[in-house]
Symmetry: C2
Subunit: 369 residues, 2 copies
């Protein structure tokens, strides 16, 4: 595919392909990050992000990857020794717990089988059993397994106990419905290279009023990631440290494209792409890895069965079809492959993946029953 400067069909769960209009603005010359022009862009980008976060709270732009955003969320809301419930359904949930532990939190892990969603009742029991828990860490969409948690229900439980709710929405926000204010998320983390049609390099973080109250008391050491500095500079249309200007340029176009499409339409398009992917994969005789009731609308994980070597498949698709998929991570390495369908994705992209899969499955050892 060469459409819009695309040289291959990049179907991994981020980085995602960028529309030609976005690539074009990324070639714009540098400007003073403390000047009026950058200030206007930053203010507009921030206002647009707030719309797409469905929040009236703050949204901060931090230069760093999504994992940096997760670290920022932890160090701005917790103190060493704080007990936190870490709800994990995969690699990125485990990462959230690791970061919290690294900075001295007393992490109570609540892990679910990979491929399944978190059970809100189990979260209720855990919170009931341990009143000392201060905050709950949850992954909205677990990229490693292709599962989306029922965040509305989880939020009801967590807020029923009046706990701080910190959500990794890196691969969901802007693609899967997540009304940040309505669901009372206190800290919401996402990353530029996921649903946002922008290059990697920035984390965007929503902070609620309760999030700010926690931040004022949190004693984990922080400097670069400090939300207070980010907010005080944003009030003068700046960032505390030199920002990734090119990523902000990309946002200045991509967020306008998103608002022109409309959030409801974006969410519906992702749901449609995901359904086409799942139906297509099943029609080829391949089992989905994720519990289909909670299958993600941004990434589909497919189990390797019936002789399929997923690494060989991914290699052959890349070399023979210019289609780039992901394998499995950690214990899922060699056991699944993953198809990303987030951000700039159309039915044509998915159909191309499905027809290439059909052609390559036998070469990769798959013997359909």
């Amino acid at each position: 595919m060469s459409e819009g400067g695309r040289v291959e069909n990049l179907r991994i769960p981020g980085p995602t392909p960028l529309p030609a209009e976005v690539l074009k603005v990324m070639g714009k010359q540098m400007i003073n990050h403390r000047g009026a022009e950058f200030g206007r862009i930053l203010n507009e980008v921030t206002a647009n992000l707030k719309q797409l976060f469905q929040t009236k709270g703050d949204v901060l732009l931090l230069t760093g990857s999504g994992t940096g955003g997760m670290e920022a969320a932890i160090v701005n809301t917790l103190s060493p020794g704080d007990r936190v419930l870490s709800v994990s359904i995969g690699v990125f949930g485990d990462r959230f717990a690791s970061i919290a532990r690294q900075f001295g939190a007393d992490v109570v892990p609540l892990n679910f089988e990979w491929g399944k969603a978190a059970d809100p009742d189990a979260i209720r029991k855990a919170l009931k059993a341990d009143p000392g828990i201060k905050a709950v860490l949850v992954t909205h969409n677990e990229t490693s397994t292709g599962v989306t948690n029922d965040l509305a229900s989880i939020s009801s439980v967590v807020k029923g106990f009046d706990k701080l709710l910190v959500v990794d929405a890196i691969s969901s926000l802007g693609a899967i419905n997540l009304p940040v204010d309505e669901w009372r998320i206190d800290v919401t983390i996402t990353g530029s290279q996921k649903g946002w049609m922008a290059p990697p390099g920035m984390a965007m973080i929503g902070v609620s009023e309760e999030g700010w109250r926690a931040q004022a008391k949190a004693k984990m050491p922080r400097f670069y990631w400090d939300f207070t500095r980010a907010k005080s500079y944003l009030e003068k249309a700046q960032t505390p440290w030199t920002p990734a200007i090119t990523t902000v340029y990309a946002f200045s176009v991509s967020l306008q494209m998103m608002l022109a499409e409309g959030l409801a339409n974006i969410v519906a398009r992702h749901a449609r792409m995901a359904k086409i992917t799942r139906e297509g994969v099943k029609a080829l005789g391949l089992p989905l890895f994720a519990d289909e009731r909670y299958a993600s609308d941004t990434v589909t994980a497919v189990a390797a069965s019936d002789g399929l070597d997923p690494k060989k498949l991914v290699k052959n698709l890349r070399e023979g079809h210019e289609i780039v998929l992901s394998g499995g991570q950690q214990t899922l390495d060699g056991k699944i492959f993953r198809i990303g369908h987030l951000g700039w994705v159309s039915e044509k992209d998915i159909k191309a993946v499905l027809s290439a899969l059909k052609a390559e499955l036998p070469q990769a050892g798959f013997r359909s029953k």
Copy 2:
């Protein structure tokens, strides 16, 4: 100016203007950051950086701004309670001390008058007086005052006491001579948007063998910035977290341009541009802010004298000449203005600044004696 996509003469000490060839590659489509193509680019960029760092040690690429790189250097080499000598000659030296303090270091400040360089003898006395000091933090080039420290002499002193030497070279490396191995710098930090002709978004960090030994013992909490993770991923031509791909694309062109020019020629060009700037400014009757023996080759600070309102001057140059200069920071606000001459800069750019200055100085209140 419209040369090479340049819309204005951006003469601040970073971000710096990017050559057309660099801007062009920044519009390249996203690729898989865990794939072979990105791996080849990352390996080539890393090898080129090592040449320009003049080091056989490691150079790590971290997604974040220069301040993120400073935080990374601190948390990877120190433990809470460690005593560190913080040599400061301005805003960025003070920032280094603040970060160290924030993460629990026992900071011994050694501050020099702004506009002057650090005195190696004073550093010797401080180290002699306090054998408990473990590491020394030094700014190579202080952007806020336009002063370059005599790092070779400082290193001789620090290494005479066998202390760890951590250097903020954000606005010097790649523009001012800094032979990292020869001068035995243990941790050397720089930033993509300074001398490197790349957009902001990445910090590049050199680590010596002694730096790694310190890292193995350092107990400050770290996850995102962890050097060990960065090194182990680099061994498989990856980064631990999704990197700022566009900035790496920019490096893939800008570092080749730098090597084609040759490091000695780059250093000589910066010295020449700085000299033309200083001579031109003095010829207009304006005093330099920095001690001229240590005046920086990447940024010139000019003192506001004889009625000059530097804010008005900066505004008039921007609005009337499309020339963007910087004002002063913190206590120097309203007292100096600064001209950046690092990265992609030619004599023509400087001459344009000088002739616009000549035209605008009277309008900004300056009455030459």
